[in-house]
Amino acid sequence: MSEVAAAPLKRSRPASAGAISVGVRVLAGIAALLLAALPLLATGAPIIEAYGLMVTGALGSAFAVSETLTRATPLILTGLAAAVAFRAKLWNIGAEGQLYAGAIATVVVGTGLIEAPAFITLPAVVLAGAAAGAFLMLIPTLLKVRLGVDEVVTTLLLNFVVLLFVQMLLDGALKDPMGMGWPQSPPVVPAAELPEIWPRTRLHAGLILGIVAALVLSFVIARTTFGFRMRAVGENAAAARFAGISVAKTMIGVGLISGALAGLAGVGEVAGLKGYLTSDISPGFGYAGIVVAMLAGLSPIGSVVSALFIAAIYVGADSMSRALGVSSYLADLIVAMALISILIGEVVARRLTRGAR
């Protein structure tokens, strides 16, 4: 009988709202790709050929696919870091710094601190990297919940602090004595390396780590009391607080998870891809993770999909720019435009789904 009373409002809203949300995201991705035609035109490159080269560069061969997957690996993890934090309205803009913190820990633990077989060393490296990222995010989170310091500012600025710290380490404590003077760390020992998962490519087990993290996070958000608290705090902190949920504890938990995920991205780049630390292991993966998460509507599984999309743009644009002599910054431009498109798209989607109110 309550169903009857609600009849005038029945417009199958949840389903259509979901469809609109996904549709808007796909359209935003397409719009960003189309908008890339403008800078391409400005350089005088042949448009159709350029798009063709991007597609083959990202997906045209087994090697291209492996490169895209390799590039997606850190993006999945930084995307998850942003998604989990943003769910609780903890604006972690510091995944870039947390990634480097994870990378530092990988080098510290992985270059001879422990001499043990891989089944001990590797987990130790992974845990150390996650812990380092989590610790770095703990500082701004505590400042936010205890003193009300804006975490957007603190996390963003910590990125520069960490990067300078990395440069200092690479010129000092962590400098490779065999590195011919290059600012790079010694390589991690074989027992600390993430195994290659596709022979004769650069693809490493970090991808599996990312996908597992996405699945676990998805479960945590939807099915656990911690995830429930996190959603309640993110969507209405006042009501959560009134109901007796500790906003501070929840934020701290979320901050630790977010930082740990970004730290894992750093572990993957050092222990899986490069083997050693330099101050340019991340061309902005931390920031791109924000786009990944936004494009995915803060869904963990969605973040895997959107990370693959963004990675394909990077790899495809790289390859295209080499072939046509166009600046490879085009990829950053497309990713930035994807973020702007999705932000505009979300406003439009909200208008569309509101309608009847």
Binding site: S2, E3, L9, T224, A232, A238, A239, G244, I245, S246
Partner: protein, 518 residues
């Protein structure tokens, strides 16, 4: 106490609405409404929340454009259509509206607020114009009796004074039709009477007034004619002198109005003891050395105009604030730290004042909102993992028992009506058989049926489950009907408790405005 005003049956019509229809998506907020207003009369627009009163007035005022029908305004003896969707046109035609939430710039004086927007900023000679304006205003004040300090910043004025500024603003702009949206919501009974006295004077000079209200009592004492709206339709029109309260209420609700129940009960042990408690001003007006006892099996009503310390009292009893002085005991336990969750598990049910902001997470589902305070109970989770199917079936049961109108356990709360959200909160909090219930403005914004339902659940909690109930409300009638004892809150001070049965409306009203020893 109806009175003879300038408006009689033969007074000319100044305003007419013809077949006004306004839709929002699938909802028809106004459905072919006709209405006429004569010169010098006070017309009551009576209806429950959501009946379409405010929407209709927003159409009149040009804030909304109606899908059908038109608005006619008298000009030089003839009715002419008003340009739709243009507040400027409405203002130009002499229609003014005083909203429930005032539209005043708090950091400007009353005079500046009144003059704001009446003159171009590019004109010179502002000082001379101000003097002329002041003289004119003084004349209006004398004629209407709307005494108010013109040079004091608005944020230092009382609510009643702010309202007078709003009305003066309309009169200064030569309004011929004044629309008042729920004007007594924030007034003490005395201030309300004073407002109605002013209206009487103003209508005698030819002003016409539309009074939006859902309170029958004030409609009877202050209006000449009554139009009743229900679900967007006009369902009745009558001269006030010929109307009777029961049939009006039934017209408003659409069925017989449920009577407020007040069961016989005897108070037991105290569940809340406040002894000289002060609470800092973090939650609005501070509480100042308050003594209060609430016993098991009784309902204590807290009367007072909003903003006199209700926020701090509620925060203290919700576990969101600690005493800055004195001692507070809730269920035998001293309040020493901020711990809303602890109070909730100890057996305190808290019904928040702002149910949308503090009571529910709008984007989460009914099932999730029902579990919000009970996350750790075995029916909701085990070992940190949610028991989704148990939550859903529990929610389905609660929805049926409490008659919550929604599309099921998995529908989001955001789209539900205020009354249904309140039912959800009541089910969540009272369902756990609490020993103390804090109900802060639990019927605000609810229609009569939903409000009666809330009162019934509170009565049940006090009578059958022997809970102590503290009911904070602005609605004195509600308190007198529901509570066993009544205390009055004014500027953070609490009066002695007196039995509700022997309470005198007038005396309480005086205490609410601080004019009697509290």
């Amino acid at each position: 106490m109806s009175f003879v005003s300038a408006g009689g049956d033969d007074a000319p019509t100044v305003l007419a609405l013809e077949g006004v229809t306004k839709r929002f998506g699938a909802l028809t907020a106004n459905d072919g409404i006709d209405l006429t207003l004569r010169r010098g009369e006070v017309l009551a627009l009576l209806g429950e929340n959501g009946a379409g009163k405010t929407t209709l007035m927003n159409v009149l005022f040009g804030k909304y454009t109606a899908e059908g029908g038109r608005v006619l305004v008298e000009r030089d003896g003839a009715l002419e259509p008003l340009e739709p969707g243009s507040p400027a046109a409405a203002l130009g035609a002499g229609i003014a509206m005083v909203h429930q939430h005032f539209t005043l710039a708090e950091n400007l004086s009353g005079l500046d607020n009144i003059l704001l927007g009446t003159r171009s900023l590019w004109k010179f000679g502002w000082g001379g114009a101000r003097r002329a304006a002041r003289t004119r205003l003084q004349g209006i004040i004398e004629a209407s009796g709307l005494a108010v300090p013109l040079d004091v910043r608005v944020d230092r004025l009382s609510v009643g004074e702010r309202q007078r500024i709003e009305i003066l603003k309309s009169l200064y702009r030569e309004a011929r039709v004044l629309v008042l949206d729920e004007p007594t919501a924030l007034l003490t009974p005395q201030d309300a009477d004073r407002l109605f006295g002013t209206l009487k004077k103003l209508t005698a000079t030819g002003l016409s007034v539309i009074l939006i209200s859902h309170k029958l009592r004030e409609v009877f004492s202050a209006t000449d004619r009554i139009v009743v709206l229900r679900h967007g339709r006009k369902v009745g029109e009558t001269a006030t002198a010929a109307a009777d309260a029961t049939s009006l209420a039934e017209m408003m609700v659409g069925s017989a109005v449920p009577k407020t129940v007040h069961s016989a009960r005897t108070p037991g042990e105290p569940v809340v003891v406040l002894d000289g408690v002060s609470v800092s001003a973090e939650h609005g007006t501070a509480l100042d050395r308050v003594d209060l006892k609430v016993h098991a099996g009784e309902i204590v009503g807290v009367a007072g105009v909003s903003g006199n310390g209700q926020g701090a009292l509620a925060a203290l009893l919700s576990g969101l604030a600690v005493p800055a002085g004195g001692t507070a005991q809730i269920l035998g336990k001293q309040v020493e730290r901020v711990d809303p969750g602890g109070l909730s598990t100890a057996g305190v049910a808290r019904i928040p004042e702002d149910r949308h902001q503090d009571g529910v997470v709008g984007t989460m589902t009914v099932a999730e909102n029902l579990a919000l305070e009970n996350l750790k109970t075995p029916s909701v989770s085990s070992r940190g993992v949610l028991r989704l199917s148990a939550m859903t079936s529990q929610a389905r049961k609660t929805i049926a028992e409490s008659d919550i109108r929604c599309q099921g356990p998995q529908s989001t709360v955001r789209l539900m009506s205020g009354g249904n959200i309140q039912k959800l909160i009541l089910a969540r909090t009272l369902g756990r058989k609490p020993r103390f219930v804090l109900a802060n403005q639990p019927t605000r914004g609810l229609d009569l049926g939903a409000a009666a339902d809330v009162a019934r659940r509170l009565d049940e909690a006090a009578t059958q489950h022997r809970a102590g109930v503290l009911l904070i409300s602005e609605d004195l009638d509600e308190l007198l009907a529901v509570a066993d004892r009544i205390v009055v809150l004014h500027e953070g001070r609490l009066s002695e408790a007196g039995p509700a049965a022997a309470a005198d409306r007038n005396a309480i009203g005086l205490m609410m405005s601080g004019q009697a020893a509290a």
